[in-house]
């Protein structure tokens, strides 16, 4: 079991290992960045830092018309990304993923409280976002 931040994207549920999450903030005011890859929603002023905010749904291929309301700040200090999601539901203990998934951005999935929860591979996500900028 390890601690995860659970979040919603459309009708689906995902979770990020808590050690990869530094905080969760409102979407706030996003300044658009012309020329940025499609997954970039904009940049945000996070207490004087410039935080790039990406649409996690677009990356995972979740089509949902919902407005992204929350931003999960993930990554390490020198390379953090805001991942916009529909909402954050819980911080909870989840077992190691035992369901296999096809997505390169998931470490697998678990069944918890009757829901299927995809475990996001933050390192892979960050690597993909970095590669997208090329």
């Amino acid at each position: 079991m390890s601690t995860h931040v659970r979040l919603r994207l459309g009708d689906e549920e995902y979770a990020l290992p808590v050690e990869w999450v530094s905080e969760v903030v409102d979407v706030g005011v996003l300044a658009p960045v012309p020329g940025a890859p499609a997954s970039v929603l904009g940049i945000r002023n996070l207490r004087g830092r410039i935080l790039p905010v990406f649409d996690l749904g677009a990356l995972l291929g979740v089509r949902s018309g919902n407005e992204r309301t929350r931003v999960v700040v993930a990554g390490e200090e020198h390379q953090s990304a805001g991942l916009a999601v529909d909402g954050v539901s819980d911080v909870c203990e989840l077992p190691e993923p035992d369901e296999e998934t096809q997505s390169p951005f998931l470490r697998g999935a678990v069944l918890a409280d009757g829901a299927l929860v995809g475990i996001v591979d933050v390192q892979r996500v960050l690597a993909a976002l970095e590669a997208e900028g090329d």
């Binding site: 005011v29 658009p32 012309p34 004087g48 410039i50 900028g133």
Partner: protein
């Protein structure tokens, strides 16, 4: 600290020591080394060996050990033969590669060094005695330097930048009170302290040029010997300091300029003798601080640029412009060294990216001088701010040629051009250039004329916001490779301005075509409404001001009814009045009646906020013409903002 951090520290230190080693070896070869040179070399090698041993980098340790052995031998035998300089230089290169984590074979080198040592001692190489012991008595002074991770220094500068913003907000909110003696004096003291803090923080992020030119004498020597030339490099002002970020990126352009000087500038020895010059050419690298700029000069006493080129420069702008045309080269033939790396156009682009300038002068037969004018510090940049589609943008002030109103506009092949004093400048709508969506421009919009890489381009925008000194923050590793931006800055109102890279803008559109078009701001933003707060109590006045400002309103204040009327007279933008009842000079009821009696302002929404909360007071206020009445007793922020919102929406 974990191993990775130790490793970083070791790398920094080892690289510094290796720079020192190469310098000292070259000095020995030239014959102008200090008497202490062998000891210095020994100490440097010994330090590297020690660190490598601690971190378990056995390859590095054994190579440094062999290096040390040769030096010990040289010291014992009374000097280092010049024949050994070459293998030691190669050993230094290999050490550098290994320290950087690259895998390079060392076996051959180790054998060569062992032979070197054997030849010094005239016998087969035994294991060396521990010279470290012998040296410990002459150890260097304990260091008075503290190593600080660069992120910490960057954070400090970030905070300084935020203080800039805070001071601007403070200045704004103090407003008229800055005229009062005490407040004004205190503000001035703060201003001075802040300037000192800023300078100190900037200095922490600057490093001497010496930190990046360690390998250059070696490079010059290699290029010269490969092209059969004799060249001596003179370095002055290596202690001149520059912003770390600029410095780190300067290494390549400087190497290129020196390569140019040796490969294209300096003539072969016999040609030099024929023209009455000393056989050994002279290349100079000079750095000097001038005000808030640093000048770095690379000069040679070679053949200079051909007369045809100078003539072309005379007809066609400056020599700098001619020589920095993309792909331009003065190379008669491409040699191993000349064809490599970046061209002068790239050097210029580089310098201009950081808000600097490149200047080239040349005299046929006498030589060429290239001067890089660079800002001392990059983090704080003077920019021009402007707005397009509601989003703020900035460009380095150094690259702004002028600001004009778009009046004399023409087009060829649908590319609009602006005519300025008889010359044309390509004109772009900034939004279009960035491939972003924004409402159409006004009929005669303002345009910012930029110099980028020798080309000029005019950017039309909605309005100018003025000049400001801002902190430029990088977009980070995830967005850093999007071309066209130097970074972003957070403005006084919390908004983010993208800092545009003039060089990429000058390339025109097409840069971002592959990306999707983004709307700069989804809906047009209107100027926030302005509220006049009339209140004699300082505390209440400032409380109301901060609540309203936090909600995005612009706020003016007055201390009594008379002052309020004067403000209204001067400022037609005020859309709502918030007033107390009891005030000196003219109270709230009188003020309300006066406004209602004035035909121009009779419809101005008025809200009374007072401690007098009885029904009678309320009736009086409403009879005088107020639109809303709020008792301070029941005062809560949300209720105030709701009422303000309702009144302004009418």
């Amino acid at each position: 600290m974990d191993d990775a951090e130790f490793l970083d520290i070791f790398r920094d230190e080892a690289n510094e020591r290796l720079d020192n080693i190469v310098d000292t070896l070259l000095a020995l070869e030239r014959g102008d080394a200090t008497d202490d040179a062998l000891n210095v070399l020994f100490r440097d090698a010994h330090t590297i060996k020690g660190g490598a041993g601690m971190l378990g980098l056995d390859d590095v340790r054994s190579l440094a050990h062999a290096f040390e052995d040769v030096l010990a031998g040289a010291r014992d035998s009374g000097g280092l033969p010049l024949a050994l300089v070459e293998p030691l230089l190669r050993a230094a290169d290999t050490l550098r590669a290994k320290v950087a984590g690259r895998d390079e074979p060392t076996a051959g080198l180790l054998e060569e060094l062992a032979h070197g040592r054997a030849s010094l001692l005239g016998k087969a190489a035994p294991a060396s005695v521990d010279e470290a012991e012998a040296l410990s008595s002459q150890r260097v002074q304990p260091s008075r330097t503290v190593r600080v991770p660069t992120e910490k220094v960057d954070r400090l500068l970030d905070l300084v930048g935020e203080t800039v913003l805070h001071r601007r907000r403070l200045e704004y909110s103090l407003g008229d009170r800055l005229g009062e003696e005490v407040a004004g004096d205190e503000f001035d003291i703060g201003e001075r302290l802040f300037d000192e803090l800023k300078d100190a923080a900037i200095q922490m992020r600057t490093l001497p040029l010496a930190t990046i030119i360690g390998h250059l004498p070696r490079a010059v020597r290699d290029i010269a010997s490969a092209s059969g030339k004799q060249v001596e490099l003179f370095v002055t002002g290596a202690e001149t300091e520059l912003d770390r970020i600029i410095l780190e990126s300067l290494s390549e352009p400087l190497a290129h300029l020196l390569r140019n000087a040796v490969a294209h500038g300096i003539e072969p020895p016999d040609e030099r003798r024929r023209t009455g010059k000393p056989a050994t050419g002279r290349v100079e690298l000079r750095a000097e601080q001038r005000g808030r700029q640093v000048e770095i000069t690379v000069a040679d006493d070679g053949r200079g640029v051909p007369r045809e080129v100078l003539a072309e420069a005379g007809r066609d702008g400056s020599l700098t412009d001619v020589l920095t045309r993309p792909g331009y080269s003065t190379a008669v033939e491409v040699t191993e060294f000349a064809g490599r790396g970046v061209g002068l156009d790239a050097v210029r682009a580089h310098v201009e990216t950081y808000g600097g300038q490149l200047e080239i002068a040349s005299e046929p037969g006498q030589g060429t001088t290239v001067v890089l004018h660079l800002p001392l510090a990059l983090a704080l940049l003077d920019v021009l701010l402007f707005e397009r589609g509601g989003a703020p943008f900035a460009v380095p002030l150094a690259s702004v040629a002028e600001v004009v109103a778009v009046e004399d506009k023409h087009a060829l092949e649908e590319q609009p051009v602006l005519v300025l004093r008889g010359r044309t400048v390509p004109l772009f709508d900034l939004a279009e250039l960035l491939d972003a969506e924004a409402p159409p421009l006004a009929k005669t919009p303002p345009a910012v004329v930029l110099n980028g890489g020798g080309r000029r381009v005019a950017l039309a925008c909605d309005r100018l916001l003025g000049e400001e000194e801002v902190v430029v923050k990088p977009l980070g590793t995830l967005l850093g490779r999007i071309r066209g931006y130097l970074g972003a800055s957070i403005l006084g109102d919390g908004r983010i301005a993208l800092v545009l890279d003039p060089l990429h803008l000058a390339d025109g559109p097409g840069r971002t075509r592959s990306a999707r078009s983004v709307a700069l701001v989804p809906e047009p933003v209107r100027d926030p409404k302005k509220v006049l707060v009339v209140e004699d109590s300082f505390t209440v006045r400032e409380l109301q001001r901060s609540i309203l400002e936090a909600a995005g309103y612009r706020v003016e204040t007055a201390r009594d009814g008379r002052e309020a009327l004067e403000r209204l007279e001067r400022d037609p933008e005020i859309g709502l009045l918030l007033t107390d009842l009891e005030m000196p000079v003219m109270d709230g009821l009188e003020l309300t009646r006066a406004i209602r009696a004035d035909p121009i302002r009779a419809s101005l929404p008025i809200m009374i906020v007072t401690t007098r909360g009885s029904d009678d007071d309320r009736r009086q206020g409403l009879e005088a013409g107020a639109d809303a009445y709020m008792a301070k007793r029941s005062f809560d922020q949300q209720a105030l903002l709701d009422s303000v919102g309702q009144l302004l929406a009418r």
